[in-house]
Symmetry: D2
Subunit: 138 residues, 4 copies
């Protein structure tokens, strides 16, 4: 069973993240989701930096984002991140991007990541980290 | 029927597009796909800048990328971009990101975009642009 | 006399901000400085969004960054931002980027910005905003 | 004497490089200058990737950009890059960013970079690469 915790991280939209449409550029959300994963690791007592120190990497194999409402410069946004599925070679995270105050949904997303070693080869996740992320689904 | 043209644009991977995994960061592809759309417009005799001058915008409503192989700094990559579907309020683009020389597939993707006016409201695409992008599918 | 307040904003380095050298890419600091300016406005009771609502823009005319030490993924960094000089057509901000815990200096920087109107023409800053930012130096 | 060659690289401004001011965000130029350096290496018969394969890095120690005119989405811009000074531990590049057709100057810049080894320690540049980049100034 994946770790059931949903972790939130909140920050202001940066000016550089806007484009000439006057809203946040859609690529910025990809970076925000990643920061959501980083916060998930920290909030659960570890860090992705430590994951890398163990010679492991999580390489994104799929990203899917459905944009619901535009986000704007200076807006406080919250990234909600949780683990949807832990497999021996893959992990799937789910996300909601919401306005920090109204909780209006700005985007919904998931990303799939595979575990790779320092040479970039797909690898199985060690027990220590599997336990941290949650038991693999059968 | 959408315009059947597949348009290619080729460039070198920029150093800033890499991350500490030693490969291109997955958010960079979102920017590449967008540049693929820009080139599609140019190669077909117009430009997205002209689309905006007509008071129209294409706002991304969904992005989906499946990463097949890592891309590296200095590598020449080609973005292949085509239109999959034209609806009166939405357009869907398909993409392949390939190595410019070996044509190995690095990523496959699609994006859905809705037409909005300058106030950000969803709008129908004018005939002039619908004809340019291809006949709407029924 | 410019407003003497030095304002701090602190956040974790994002993974996307690293490059294959294993450290934060030097372009990320430019975005951080801008976020330092945004926080300066907020901490002093206004916001750059409100500045734009008044039909004004601050366009960067010069940026200078001297990098002292590398920054790393997941590190907590603090941007210290203050106003060095307010002229009728230009403003100069100073910055230090430091480690949030050790206060080791990672970078020192300044940016010059000119006031422009919505058409992009250089303009003088209205009294209301001049008072907010500090009296112009003579 | 530094290698006297000025090398040009030309590309279209990407949409993601704009901000809500309707022009190219000032951080994008930092990435463009870096691509100018990459092209300098390629045009002179090598590549920065090969530099890294020799266990060397060029770490930016200072960046200075003076912005002259705004750049816009879809505009063709040319980065002119040359070497201003080669020292045993440092190199200085000069740049002009110009409109590819009118040659109007959009920005002028320089960057200083130090040579570091794979551990991030400052190092002297080997003769092979010093000869490639140009004789050190005395």
């Amino acid at each position: 069973m994946p770790n059931p915790n949903t972790v939130e991280t909140t920050f202001h939209v940066r000016y550089a993240e806007t484009d000439q449409m006057g809203v946040v550029h859609h690529a910025a959300y990809v970076v925000w989701l990643e920061e959501g994963r980083s916060e998930w690791m920290r909030a659960n007592g570890s860090s992705y930096a430590r994951f890398e120190q163990d010679g492991l990497r999580m390489a994104v194999s799929e990203v899917n984002i459905r944009y619901r409402q535009a986000a704007f410069y200076d807006q406080k946004v919250t990234i909600r991140c949780w683990i949807e599925k832990v497999l021996s070679r893959q992990i799937k995270f789910g996300y909601k991007v919401v306005d920090a105050e109204t909780h209006a949904i700005l985007a919904e997303a998931y990303t799939k990541l595979i575990y790779v070693d320092e040479q970039g080869n797909v690898t199985q996740i060690p027990k220590k980290w599997r336990d941290f992320l949650g038991q693999p689904d059968r």
